[in-house]
């Protein structure tokens, strides 16, 4: 179970980066970057998981509730989601302007900064 759980993290991170590297469209690139971002969120949540644990919300619990999962990791994952949303928004705005000014959305066709 651990192999699958943690393997998903490595897979998502790397496949997202593959998408970034091979992308021909900036919008596609931004979405691939957020796939990699979700890998880090999953890692945090998995580190905080406890088998048989319930959410760290202490209301309407059954008689013998058992342990709760790690609330700190959930708070960290929340922060990371916000950061990911912020960066995605910025990159999409850049993509909109690039399309207007450079006439293309293909990252490999952008030639404005090179040696």
């Amino acid at each position: 179970m651990s192999v699958l759980a943690y393997g998903v993290v490595a897979w998502l991170f790397l496949i997202g980066i593959y998408g970034v590297v091979s992308s021909r469209n900036l919008i596609h690139l931004v979405v691939c970057l957020s796939v990699s971002q979700s890998a880090t969120d999953i890692l945090l949540l998995e580190i905080g998981y406890r088998a048989g644990g319930h959410a760290p919300v202490f209301v309407d619990l059954p008689a013998h509730p058992g342990p709760a999962v790690d609330a700190v990791m959930q708070a960290l994952a929340l922060t990371d989601v916000v950061i990911g949303a912020a960066v995605t928004g910025l990159l999409l705005a850049l993509a909109v302007q690039v399309h207007k000014r450079a006439g293309t959305l293909d990252p490999d066709k952008l030639r404005a900064t090179r040696d």
Binding site: S22, V59, D70, K100
Partner: protein, 252 residues
Amino acid sequence: MSRSARLMFFAAAAAALAATLGVGLSGLPSFGSQISAYARMLNELAPAQRHVTDVVSAISFDYRGIDTLFEEFILLSAVTGISVLLRPLSDESRQLPEDKAPDRTIPPPSPAVWLLAVFLGSLLVLTGIETVTHGQLTPGGGFQGGVIVASAVYVAYLGTNYVTVERFQPGALLEATDGVGASGYVVIGLLGLLAGADFLSNVVGLGGTGNLISGGTIPLLNLVVGVEVAGGFAILASEFLDQTAVIRTRRR
């Protein structure tokens, strides 16, 4: 690098990085086996110390409240940054979409779509407000609820058209809500300093666990964050819609 050279180089590098991550991940404790003593302590203490039932909110807005202050400012700076990037530039102007076929009548919007938009929009606003205000009781809080409220703007656009939606997006008011939300967090933090404790201390009355008003500054911080996030995402909606609908480059 040529595309094929890049992909081959990437394949090798990714294999190496995969191996690295594998080594790191295999050192983690078995999935689901344990949580840290820090987390166990907070799960025990938070409901009693802060009179809240949602420990994640307590951590976000009390125990580690300074992190959330900076997180809020990440969102503020992203919204400000997007406004900067999408601002009308010197060679652009705002022109409302023009009717290309003025002799033909425009079919009115379908009543079904309009009704759905009204229903869904109101539902979103209500759900958003409920999520913001109940953050200290159940999963949710300012960030989540703010986004839900802001998505009502998108639903309004989808159900009607740009001109109608623009009336709900007074630029100055939205910016003001954004600023008020962000500075509100700072002000509430200063309350702690004024009361002689440390910055962002929870110095307001804690109330009873399980009540709507509980947790001291936690629901207040939830509220200001909700205001800021809702305002911020509404600004984003307005900026992106402007770019698609009205901003046109003047031909030189």
